[in-house]
């Protein structure tokens, strides 16, 4: 089982008639020795952490480490009944922002795939759960998301420092979109299309956090990721296909990442991080944040 692409996994599904999550778990067993039961148990625990953390953080205000965010999730939850984009989409964005603000205030999160993008997956999965999709299906969706993320990690990168935000929020969104399709009962092909479409839409996104800290713009980009994931899951379920296959999109994303200057890869030296307002904020924070040199 020499898996190098999402296509390889889907080919195995089509040849053997096996489900996608089962093929991913068997691949995992060969790579790591973890049994199917172990993977399901551990994945279910990760979903539990998302559920417990959102239940305890919902509607709360946070005192974040830098203090540039912290009350957005609360504001969004209060506005939710009025949301023009509809309840599900706005709920996903609200959960994503809340979890991301919790992350910025040293809360417990699931790094799925990274801490900076940790709001996207709970935004999507918990919205699906509240809309009535069974929990067991969400565990399998999370396994499928893991398979998608592993393909990205093998062919490209999940690190903003290596390939920009497209590799973090972009990857999280592709994983969540694919997972959402799986939870909705879509085919392995539809999973692949949702992941490809969403990653294409975030292609080129730079990593430009103010001061290098995981708050601005990271918190609100998690809202964008969760929203896009649900949108492209629906688009794929409608039968829309990505002209460019997922694996080629991943390769393109990495090529774009390699051509990104270092200033746009988590250094806090480009993009909005060097806007006049960001510079002013950092000037005011500088003395508070660093440790005095003492050799």
């Amino acid at each position: 089982m020499n898996v190098k692409s999402l296509k390889d996994l889907i080919d195995i599904c089509e040849k053997t008639g096996e489900t996608l999550h089962k093929v991913i778990m068997d691949w995992e067993m060969l790579d790591t020795g973890y049994s199917n039961d172990y993977i399901i148990e551990k994945t279910s625990k990760l979903l539990s952490v998302m559920e417990e953390e959102y239940a305890s953080k919902k509607g709360k205000e946070f005192k974040t480490l830098i203090g540039l965010t912290g009350s957005n999730g609360k504001k969004m939850l209060e506005y939710l009944p009025k949301a023009y984009v509809g309840e599900n989409v706005f709920k996903a964005a609200t959960i994503a922002v809340t979890m991301s603000e919790s992350n910025a205030s040293m809360g417990r999160i699931v790094a799925c795939p990274t801490a900076g993008s940790s709001g996207v997956m709970p935004g999507v999965l918990l919205t699906l759960e509240e809309s009535g999709i069974e929990r067991d299906k969400l565990v399998l969706a999370l396994i499928v998301a893991g398979g998608i993320g592993k393909i990205i990690s093998m062919r490209a990168s999940l690190s903003g420092a290596e390939a920009g935000c497209q590799a973090e929020i972009g990857s999280a969104t592709a994983m969540a979109a694919g997972g959402a399709v799986y939870a909705m009962g879509g085919s392995p092909q539809a999973v692949s299309h949702a992941a490809a479409l969403s990653l294409k839409s975030l292609m080129g996104l730079v990593c430009d956090p103010v001061g290098g800290f995981v708050e601005v713009p990271c918190v609100k980009r998690n809202a964008a990721g969760a929203t896009l994931a649900l949108l492209f899951a629906d688009i794929a379920m409608a039968g829309v296909e990505s002209v460019i296959p997922f694996d080629e999109v991943v390769d393109a994303m990495m090529a774009v990442g390699r051509s990104m200057p270092e200033a746009l890869r988590e250094t806090g030296k480009g993009g909005i991080a060097i806007s006049p307002t960001a510079r002013r904020i950092m000037k005011n924070l500088k003395d508070k944040l660093s440790i005095p040199e003492d050799n």
Binding site: D31, Y34, K42, V110, A111, T114, L142, G146
Partner: protein
């Protein structure tokens, strides 16, 4: 090969896998050298860690690790208060450790009359590389039970050490050998094991003539 559980996880305390989780895991490794909280600890921060000290919670993560807390314990955010309760004295200093990874910390822990020193780098996604244990240069992930030995660089040294480990039924995952000085005939070996090392095996190793120094560290 990476597991999907590392892609969709782990469960951790935010905000940064390299500046929070990785820092905490290095400190947890240092904690494991005593296995109980130290009386005092000094953290020497190198490179980016000096900048992420407050903003990425590196300070609290290091304190939480040295208190022995689990990496997803929600109390990490108030680790300073917990250290006070445990009576651990801590201090933070900036340092230039030279040509090492930007996220590197040197930790010195003291308890009664003994002390340990660990230098570790957080290399991304929560992974760490311990590059020095009690001044012995190494490259350890902290994922396995780890045995660090400084030995005489003489024929048969490796064999006698390995024999004690194997006759006690412990499987070796990886061995790293390093000659520290050819002139003074000192070498070191870092052995990562599949199983925990019982203390009597460590004592037998320490009694070997070729062993100058041996330390055992539990996995993080």
């Amino acid at each position: 090969m990476v597991s999907i559980l590392d892609i969709i996880g782990p469960s951790m305390i935010g905000p940064s896998s390299s500046h929070t989780l990785g820092a905490m895991r290095i400190a947890k490794f240092a904690y494991n050298l005593f296995g109980t909280p130290p009386d005092s600890v000094s953290f020497y921060l190198h490179g980016s860690f000096k900048e992420t000290y407050i903003g990425h919670g590196t300070k609290l993560a290091l304190i939480a690790g040295i208190c022995g807390m689990e990496t997803d314990d929600p109390n990490v955010a108030k680790a300073d208060k917990i250290a006070d309760e445990l009576g651990i004295k801590y201090e933070f200093r900036g340092i230039d450790l030279g040509d090492v990874h930007p996220n590197t910390v040197k930790i010195v822990i003291k308890k009664s009359n003994s002390f340990h020193e660990v230098i570790g780098s957080s290399i991304g996604a929560g992974r760490v590389k311990i590059i020095s244990i009690d001044s012995i240069v190494c490259s350890v992930s902290g994922d396995f039970p780890t045995l660090v030995i400084e030995n005489e660089d003489v024929p048969g040294a490796l064999e006698s050490i390995i024999r004690i480990i194997s006759t006690n039924g412990i499987n070796i995952a990886q061995v790293n050998l390093n000659r520290l000085s050819k002139g003074s005939k000192i070498a070191s070996m870092v052995i990562e094991l599949d199983d925990e090392l019982p203390s009597f095996v460590l004592e037998s190793l320490k009694m070997l003539n070729v062993v100058r120094f041996a330390t055992y560290v539990k996995p993080i």
